[in-house]
């Protein structure tokens, strides 16, 4: 069976500029699943994520002329989405103070920086038979406990699957900062995950 020619995202943006409406539909459908997951995790609730999703693609449509087609579309899309998501959270006035007050790890304060050993964190395998809704909610809880900047970089990195250099390039921050932030984000997430899953068991 001959492989069907699938146009790249960048080609679709070119087509869209020429007025090809179906190219736009293809872009929206192609990125629907990942983007709505990303946004739901970022802004914390599905309804808001859907609003931001629509605003994101409206921005893509309006700005398609300014997109540099020699660059990749997906990071551009996710950067727009992250910006819109941030705007949304700002408008909502969701300034989280949770970093300073959330009970973390053993919960006892005064300890120096604590190390997370991933081999000791109870992380379910993706195919583990868990209550989907319950796990979904717990994951969101753990993510929401992250500092916003860390949460953003964690989600951006994973959903875009970019190298450190690419993330640094996209976010305009030094490579060393990307690395240390991602390290901190993973550590925090693992720790918060440990907490919420333990809370659930108790």
């Amino acid at each position: 069976m001959p492989e069907e020619h699938t146009p790249s995202d960048e080609q679709l943006v070119k087509d869209l500029r020429r007025g090809d409406e179906s190219a736009f539909r293809t872009l929206v459908s192609r990125h629907h699943d990942d983007l709505i997951r990303f946004l739901t995790r970022l802004v914390g609730d599905r309804t808001a994520a859907e609003d931001v999703f629509q605003e994101t693609f409206l921005q893509v449509y309006v700005s398609s002329d300014t997109f540099d087609v020699t660059r990749r579309f997906r990071p551009w899309l996710f950067t727009i989405a992250a910006n819109k998501g941030r705007d949304h959270l700002r408008k909502k006035g969701r300034r989280r103070m949770v970093e300073l007050s959330a009970p973390v790890g053993g919960g006892d304060s005064g300890r120096p920086a604590s190390f997370v050993d991933l081999m000791e964190v109870d992380i379910p395998a993706p195919d583990a038979a868990l209550d989907r809704a319950e796990q979904d909610q717990k994951v969101q809880e753990a993510l929401d406990a992250l500092q916003p900047a860390l949460k953003e970089i964690l989600l951006l990195a994973y959903f875009q699957r970019l190298s450190y250099a690419q993330i640094a390039d996209e976010l305009g921050i030094p490579l060393g900062t990307v690395k240390s932030r991602l390290h901190a984000a993973v550590a925090q997430f693992a720790r918060h995950w440990q907490r919420v899953s333990r809370d659930a068991r108790e």
Partner: protein, 391 residues
């Protein structure tokens, strides 16, 4: 050695050295220090408050930093190495060196749990496209509404557009001619009447727009019940989805396969073509025809009994371009216009336009029907199956 007595040669006297040791040993406290001791007074200088010092804030900050430090988890070195390797290998733990692979697999799981989420229905795609479409429409309107005589026309026109879009219009339904006719069509007619009134209500609440769910971004308007919903029937189904009309309200008695049960939660369209009882104006291109025509003051047909042509085409059968709706024995059909007028017709051709057909098919038909001298009299039967009669 006659260096300056100020540097290396400066030493405490043995007594002072002993006093200092003793002072430090017992825990020097500047506040408690014996001010008679010069050494104590000297050391107390170190504790002189700074000009701009705000001890409370600093203390708070220090406490906060300490608390943050204590709550700031860090990755172990091996986990940090595994994370770097995982990122460098495209977030694929199977490509990470064996020594770090088990940790990278944990990262796979962690990331998967963070991102595993039901992406939900494709309804969002349609709504996004419609959202973009409405933006385009608004932009077009904005560009049309330039400050000129045109804008004054537009202002007056807005009212008439609203009025023309079935809003507040009581639909005057053609009277049935015979008892038999009445039986076959009255229930269906009242359905369409109710649908027309619902469209008016919908338009009032939705910026004078008739029901639209799918945007004009590709897809086939014939594909009833496919996901994502791109069928034109999904546009009409908006009336059901938004509660303007019950499901049963769009089921014609003349359609034995019509869907009558209440819509399922989240349902966006009828499940298949046979369930659909009415045909709705196809929205194609960037702007619906009904909008263009209404703005030009010309009412246009937006709703009719279901099309005979679409049914045949979907079944892969040849079409009869002049048939009436299957709702009424392939003979007749109701039509509803944007100005609220309605008719019960025997022909699908209205003002020279066949309501079942796109222009391209009409042109093909017209070519055959209007070509002069198509039969020349020189034709002969080409076989035993080719019987034809002449003058």
């Amino acid at each position: 050695m006659d260096g300056s007595p100020d540097d290396q040669q400066s030493r405490l006297s043995p007594e002072d050295e002993r006093a200092l040791d003793a002072l430090l040993e017992q825990g020097f406290d500047a506040n408690d220090a014996n001010t008679d001791s010069p050494l104590a007074r000297l050391l107390a200088l170190l504790g002189t408050p700074l000009d701009d010092e705000q001890p409370d804030v600093l203390a708070d900050l220090t406490v906060l930093r300490a608390r943050q430090l204590s709550s700031e988890p860090e990755l172990t070195n091996r986990d940090a190495d595994a994370l770097d390797a995982w990122v460098m290998h495209g977030y694929d733990s199977s490509k990470v060196p064996a020594a770090l692979r088990d940790r990278a697999q944990r990262l796979d799981h962690l990331a998967a749990s963070a991102t595993a989420l039901d992406a939900g229905s494709s309804d969002l795609i349609e709504r996004t496209l419609a959202h973009v479409q409405s933006h385009i429409d608004a932009e077009e309107d904005r560009m049309l509404a330039r400050p000129s005589a045109w804008s004054r026309f537009r202002l007056a026109d807005i009212v008439s557009v609203a009025a023309a879009l079935l809003i507040g219009v009581s639909i005057i339904w053609p009277a049935a001619n015979t008892v038999r006719d009445q039986q076959s069509r009255m229930a269906c007619a009242s359905n369409m009447q109710a649908a027309g009134a619902a469209m008016g209500l919908y338009a009032t609440a939705n910026h004078e727009s008739l029901p639209m769910a799918t945007a004009s971004f590709g897809g086939s308007w014939l594909d009833v019940g496919t996901t994502p919903e791109r069928s034109n029937s999904a546009n009409l189904f908006t009336l059901v989805r938004t509660g303007h009309v019950p499901m049963e309200g769009l089921a014609c008695k003349g359609n034995p396969t019509a869907a009558k049960d209440p819509a399922e939660p989240g349902q966006q369209d009828w499940h298949n073509l046979p369930e659909v009882s009415y045909s709705y104006q196809i929205v194609a291109g960037w702007r619906p025809v009904w909008r263009e025509r209404t703005e030009a003051g010309e009412p246009t047909i937006v709703l009719a009994d279901r099309s005979p042509v679409v049914r045949r085409a979907v079944e892969g059968k040849p079409i009869d371009p002049y048939a009436g709706s299957p709702n009424h024995g392939d003979a007749r059909h109701h039509v509803l216009r944007t100005d609220g007028s309605a008719e019960y017709l025997t022909s699908p051709v209205v003002d020279g336009d066949n309501i079942w057909l796109p222009r391209v098919i009409e042109l093909i038909l017209k070519d055959i029907e209007t070509r002069e001298g198509l039969i020349r009299g020189s034709e002969r039967p080409v076989g035993s199956g080719d019987v034809f009669l002449g003058p």
